[in-house]
C-alpha cells in the first residue's frame, strides 16, 4: 500500500510523539538539566540579580545548548538499536522525508519545551519580562537550527562507543554562531536596543540549516547504516 509523502511525514511525527510521551520522564530530563545548569551559575558566581542580568543571556543560551545536546543522542539511537531504522530505510519512502519528520518531532519535544520553559529560567537570572519575546523567538530559531545540526551529528555517530561525547565535540563548534547571535539578541532586548540585526541573522542561519541539513543528515545515515 503506497502512502503519500505528507501521510508518511505525519505518521512518523505521530509515532515519534507517541513514543516520547510514553516515557514522560525522558521528556523532562533535558528540562531539568536546563534548570540545574542555570542554577549552577548563580551558585558559582553571585546571588545578586543585578550582577546576573549582565551574563544572563549567555548563561541561558549555553544551558539551552547543553540541554539540547543531551537529548540529541536519542534522535536515532533507539531506532537504530532495535532495527526500526533499517526498516524505515527499506520502507520505500524517501529517507530524507523520514529524517525531516524525526527531526521535527524531536524539536517539538525538546526545543519547543526549552522555549516554553525559558521564561522561568530567565526570571531566575534576572532577565526583565520586556525581553522575553525576543528571547523566546531567538531560542525557538536557535533550537531548531541546533536540532538539525544535531541530526547530522547524531547520524554520523550512531552506534559508536562514546558516541555522546563525540556528538558534542562535533556539534558544539558548529553551534557557536547560534550562541553568539542568540545571546546578542537577548542582550540587546534587555538593553532595549535594536534586536533586528541579530534576530534576522539567526533566522537566516535557521533557514540555511533547515534547507541543507536534511540532505547532510540523510547522507550521514546512509554512511553509517549501509
Amino acid at each position: 500500500m503506497t502512502v503519500g509523502a505528507w501521510e508518511a511525514f505525519s505518521l512518523v511525527v505521530h509515532r515519534e510523539l507517541c513514543l516520547s510521551f510514553r516515557r514522560p520522564e525522558q521528556l523532562f530530563q533535558p528540562l531539568v538539566f536546563f534548570l540545574i545548569v542555570t542554577t549552577l551559575f548563580p551558585l558559582g558566581l553571585s546571588l545578586q540579580l543585578s550582577a546576573l542580568r549582565d551574563i544572563a543571556p549567555g548563561v541561558l543560551w549555553v544551558a539551552a545548548l547543553l540541554s539540547s545536546l543531551l537529548s540529541l543522542d536519542s534522535l536515532f539511537k533507539s531506532d537504530a538499536d532495535d532495527g526500526t531504522l533499517e526498516q524505515l530505510v527499506l520502507s520505500g519512502q524517501g529517507l530524507t522525508l523520514i529524517v525531516v519528520a524525526k527531526t521535527c518531532a524531536h524539536w517539538l519535544v525538546t526545543g519547543l519545551a526549552l522555549v516554553i520553559a525559558s521564561p522561568i529560567v530567565a526570571t531566575a537570572l534576572g532577565i526583565p519580562t520586556s525581553a522575553f519575546a525576543t528571547m523566546m523567538l531567538s531560542l525557538a530559531l536557535g533550537t531548531l537550527t541546533l536540532s538539525w545540526l544535531g541530526a547530522i551529528g547524531a547520524g554520523l555517530t550512531i552506534g559508536l562507543r562514546r558516541g555522546n561525547v563525540l556528538l558534542s565535540l562535533i556539534v558544539l563548534p558548529l553551534a557557536t554562531p547560534l550562541l553568539i547571535f542568540g545571546a546578542a539578541a537577548t542582550d540587546r532586548a534587555i538593553s532595549e536596543t535594536s534586536t533586528a540585526g541579530a534576530v534576522y541573522f539567526l533566522a537566516a542561519l535557521c533557514v540555511f540549516t533547515c534547507t541543507l541539513a536534511p540532505w547532510a543528515a540523510t547522507a550521514a545515515l546512509r554512511i553509517t547504516l549501509e
Partner: protein, 243 residues
C-alpha cells in the same frame, strides 16, 4: 588534462607521484623559508608601532593561512571522495588533517606570544584567534570521528561528510565572531595584523607563506603514501612499491 585527473584516482599512480614530489617540494620549501627568515629577521625594518615584535608575523600569518588552506583542501578532497567514490580523496583528507591541526595550534601559540607584548595578555578573545580556535575544534572533531569507526571506509566517509559540513561553517563562524567582537571591542587594541607594509616587509611574508605551503605539500605527499598503503594493503601493486 583530464587523463591526468583520472590517473590521480589510481592509488599506485598517486603513490609513485607523491614519492617523487617529496624531495622537490622540500627543497623549494627550504629555499622559500630560508629567504623568508633572512629577509624577515634581518632585512625588513622594524615596524613603527610594534617594533621588533612585529617580526612574529612571519610565522603567525603563514601558519594561520595554512590552517585554513589545509582545511579547504581536506574538505574538497573529502567532497570528491564522497561524490565520485574516489578513495584517494579520503587518503588526501586523512593525510591533511593532522598537518592542518598542527598549523592551527602553531597559529594560536604564535598569536598568543604576539599578543603578550601587544595587548599585555597571553590570550584575548580577538576574532581571528577565536575563529582559529574553533577551526582547531573542527579539525579535532574530524580526526576523532575518523578514528572512532572500526570499519576504516565508514570512518573515512563519516569524517568526509563532517569536513564538508565544517567547511561551509567556517566562513559563518568567522563572520559571527567578527561581529560579536565588534560589539565588545574594548579600548583601542593594537590589532594583531599586517601593518601597512612596504615591499621589504611584504616579500618575506609572501615567501614564508609560499614556503609553508610547499612544506605542507611535501609532508602531505609523505603522509599520502602511508595513507594509500593503509587503504590498499591487499592490492598487488603494493608488493612492488614497498621494496
Amino acid at each position: 588534462m583530464w587523463t591526468w585527473f583520472y590517473k590521480l584516482a589510481s592509488p599506485p599512480y598517486v603513490y609513485g607521484v607523491a614519492a617523487a614530489f617529496v624531495p622537490w617540494l622540500l627543497g623549494f620549501a627550504a629555499l622559500a623559508i630560508g629567504y623568508g627568515l633572512v629577509a624577515g629577521l634581518g632585512i625588513a625594518p622594524a615596524d613603527y608601532q610594534q617594533g621588533e615584535a612585529f617580526r612574529m608575523i612571519y610565522v603567525h600569518v603563514p601558519s594561520a593561512l595554512l590552517s585554513l588552506t589545509v582545511y579547504t583542501v581536506m574538505a574538497v578532497a573529502s567532497g570528491i571522495a564522497l561524490i565520485w567514490r574516489i578513495k584517494v580523496g579520503h587518503a588526501v583528507a586523512a593525510a591533511s588533517a593532522p598537518i592542518g591541526a598542527s598549523f592551527a595550534i602553531l597559529a594560536l601559540v604564535t598569536g598568543s606570544l604576539w599578543g603578550k607584548p601587544m595587548w599585555g595578555t597571553y590570550w584575548a578573545w580577538d576574532p581571528r584567534l577565536t575563529s582559529e580556535l574553533i577551526l582547531l575544534f573542527l579539525y579535532v572533531g574530524v580526526m576523532s570521528l575518523r578514528s572512532a569507526f572500526e570499519d576504516p571506509l565508514r570512518g573515512d566517509r563519516a569524517a568526509a561528510l563532517l569536513a564538508v559540513v565544517g567547511v561551509v561553517n567556517v566562513p559563518i563562524v568567522h563572520f559571527s565572531v567578527v561581529w560579536w567582537n565588534s560589539l565588545h571591542q574594548g579600548a583601542t587594541i593594537v590589532r594583531i595584523g599586517a601593518p601597512k607594509m612596504p615591499g621589504s616587509m611584504l616579500w618575506p611574508l609572501l615567501s614564508m607563506w609560499l614556503g609553508f605551503m610547499l612544506f605542507y605539500g611535501a609532508v602531505l605527499c609523505m603522509r599520502l603514501q602511508a595513507e594509500v598503503l593503509n587503504r590498499e594493503r591487499q592490492a598487488s601493486w603494493v608488493r612492488e612499491a614497498i621494496k
